[in-house]
């Protein structure tokens, strides 16, 4: 075993760069807020976009860690602390989502069309029968309640896993007792993460297009988060290794992470395509509208999404050696992290823009009950109008149909906040847990 630095020191230089990034993020958010339209569509959609993205990544880190613990896996134990730290970002992510939830209740924003009480007034001009039918689930109380309850359960269980694991290191393994109790909490976490994340994905993201639904959506979003989480893990480990920590994390570990990056990129594509093909084949108006909007108004992003998140990792990571070389692996991880951020952009922006257009006066087609069935048809005629809804003739409008500099700045801000939190947590405990029963298996890991 090589001599290694066990305790991570969160250096001032790194701190400063991350702080600069966070300032950029705050400035960009503020700038967006100032230059925005009357209902702050761009500000709130950027806020939701980044909050959902990073909250999901931390949830998936906890999920994968608990899956590995429950499956008696050993290979990851040497860098287990990284996943423990990433999963703890839920402490910040859940409150961020709560800000969005409280915003619905106080009508601070119009991200979700169902948050508009006029849609539920029977007989009113804007009455929408379909949304009324879903109002038991799609309401701000359920949104906030589900986020709070699941958030508390997740954070409680993941915090138990992390704190027992650190105690195992400090106080000794106590036979296998500490390990067994970690395993109990990890197993308890899995159903809450699996079913809970699906329900929250419906509320957080899918309900932006409240007339549209897809049973594959939770899987699809989960896969997107998962791939991003693996990419973040690779980048954090490479950063720490470059600083002289984690010398025991070898090419073998990176090879396995690269395999996960490769395999789950394909899994994501499989879900993306399955969702697309079923809807394309069935050709039901309420469903195809989702893709029609995106292909017509977001053509570059729509296909770039596939190119970045499928074609690039598929061909780059197919070979054995590209998964083991730090350069190609790190490049792909960075590219994929950005690619899945674009994927979430594409999930969130079109629906929000559509809602904003209706709220600010474009919506005349909610002409009572009789229109509920023909709703989708009416909506499709609206597409071009709403792309140009912000006054531009072009389908490319910064911040709405493609990410602009303010979006990138906000992304950098959130990313730096995320990294700052992770690195700060990593500096609190030894990087490798030498009392974990699987540590030897992990040190001698060989693919």
């Amino acid at each position: 075993m090589k001599e290694e630095k066990l305790n991570y020191e969160f250096e001032g230089g790194t701190k400063m760069w991350l702080a600069i990034g966070m300032v950029i993020g705050v400035v960009c958010l503020g700038w967006t807020f100032m230059t925005d339209d009357a209902i702050h569509t761009r500000f709130w959609s950027n806020f939701l976009h980044n909050s959902v993205f990073f909250t999901g990544i931390s949830l998936m880190a906890g999920f994968f860690m608990c899956v590995s613990i429950t499956a008696w896996a050993g290979w990851y134990v040497v860098f287990k602390r990284v996943w423990e730290a990433i999963s703890m970002f839920l402490i910040i992510g859940i409150p961020l989502m709560l800000i969005v939830g409280v915003g619905i209740m106080l009508h601070m924003h119009h991200l979700y069309h169902w948050g508009d009480p006029a849609m539920l007034e029977v007989g009113g001009d804007n009455y929408d029968k379909l949304i009324d039918g879903k109002s038991g689930f799609l309401n701000s109380k359920f949104y906030i309640g589900a986020t709070v309850i699941l958030g508390i359960i997740w954070v409680f269980l993941l915090n138990k896993v992390r704190s027992i694991s650190i105690a195992e290191d400090k106080e000794g393994a106590d036979g296998f007792n500490k390990h067994y109790s970690i395993r109990k909490y990890a197993a308890a976490f899995l159903p809450f993460a699996g079913f809970g994340s699906a329900a929250l994905v419906w509320l957080w993201i899918m309900s932006i297009d409240p007339h549209w639904y897809s049973t594959m959506f939770a899987w699809y979003t989960g896969a997107s988060w998962f791939v991003s989480m693996i990419a973040v893990t690779i980048l954090v480990l490479q950063h720490l290794k470059g600083k002289g920590y984690y010398q025991n994390v070898s090419n073998e570990h990176f090879h396995d992470l690269g395999k996960f990056l490769f395999a789950f990129s394909i899994f994501w594509t499989y879900l993306w395509f399955s969702q697309y093909m079923l809807i394309w084949y069935a050709n039901v108006g309420e469903e195809t509208i989702y893709f029609k909007q995106r292909i017509d108004n977001y053509p570059i992003l729509f296909y770039a999404n596939l190119a970045i998140n499928f074609v690039a990792p598929f061909f780059i990571l197919m070979r054995n050696d590209t998964k083991r070389k730090m350069g190609s692996l790190g490049f792909t991880a960075g590219l994929i992290l950005f690619g899945h951020w674009l994927d979430f952009f594409l999930m969130i922006k079109p629906g929000v823009l559509h809602t904003a257009h209706e709220v600010t006066g474009g919506g005349g087609h909610h002409g009572g009950e009789s229109h509920a069935g023909g709703h989708a048809v009416a909506e499709s005629g609206h597409d071009v109008a709403h792309a140009a809804g912000h006054g531009a003739d072009s389908v490319f409008e910064l911040g709405f149909t493609i990410p602009g500099l303010l979006e990138l700045g906000t992304f950098i801000g959130f990313l730096c906040l995320f990294m700052y939190f992770i690195l700060a947590l990593l500096s609190k405990a030894p990087l490798t847990s030498n009392n974990d029963p699987y540590i030897d298996e992990s040190l001698h890991h060989h693919t």
Binding site: F273, Y276, M277, W280, Y281, N283, M318, N320, H446
Partner: protein, 172 residues
């Protein structure tokens, strides 16, 4: 068989002992003929100086052929040869072609690789391969030397020293 070989071999009980012994043999410049194990042993290939298999490159080529066969085949059939409208979709309905294209890619790649593997290794129906010792398919690890290439007495002392549980000579 024409090229009968006189071999001397040692049987080990454990793959860790085997790996150590192979390292020692390399250090002593004893030319190993082959190593037989009941399961793939990690780290053995580089010790024996085996080149990386090129089977996966063949697999990529077969997969590409499968991809092109399926995609171009369906494109030709549904646009030129026998155009039929299915469910109001265009003749060249790419999303509908993708599952079949995927399946043929996998089929061509897997069958192609299996056949290539069999041909390269001289395997196939009716082929009889000499087995040095039946227990190497169960729980024994074997290092074999060709007597015409190494000094038998040196090998014997090496095998004893490195912890072989049994040492035998045989003609195969």
């Amino acid at each position: 068989m024409a090229d009968n070989k006189n071999i001397i071999y040692g049987l080990y009980n454990d793959e860790v002992d085997l790996l150590k012994a192979v390292k020692e043999a390399n250090g002593d410049h004893l030319e190993i003929m082959d190593v037989y194990t009941p399961f793939p042993v990690h780290g053995l290939d580089p010790l024996l100086g085996l080149a990386e298999s090129r089977l996966h490159i063949a697999g990529f080529v077969y997969g590409t052929i499968g991809f092109l066969t399926a995609f171009l085949g369906m494109s030709w059939i549904f646009t030129k040869d026998w155009p039929i409208i299915f469910g109001g979709k265009p003749h060249w309905a790419v999303p509908a072609f993708i599952p079949i294209t995927f399946e043929l890619t996998v089929l061509f790649a897997s069958i192609g690789m299996v056949v290539t593997f069999y041909i390269i290794n001289g395997l196939g129906p009716g082929v009889v391969n000499p087995t040095i010792d039946l227990r190497i398919t169960d729980d024994k690890f074997c290092i074999a030397f060709d007597k015409s290439e190494v000094d038998s007495s040196k090998v014997e002392s090496f095998l004893k020293r490195s912890g072989a549980s049994e040492i035998h000579s045989k003609t195969i």
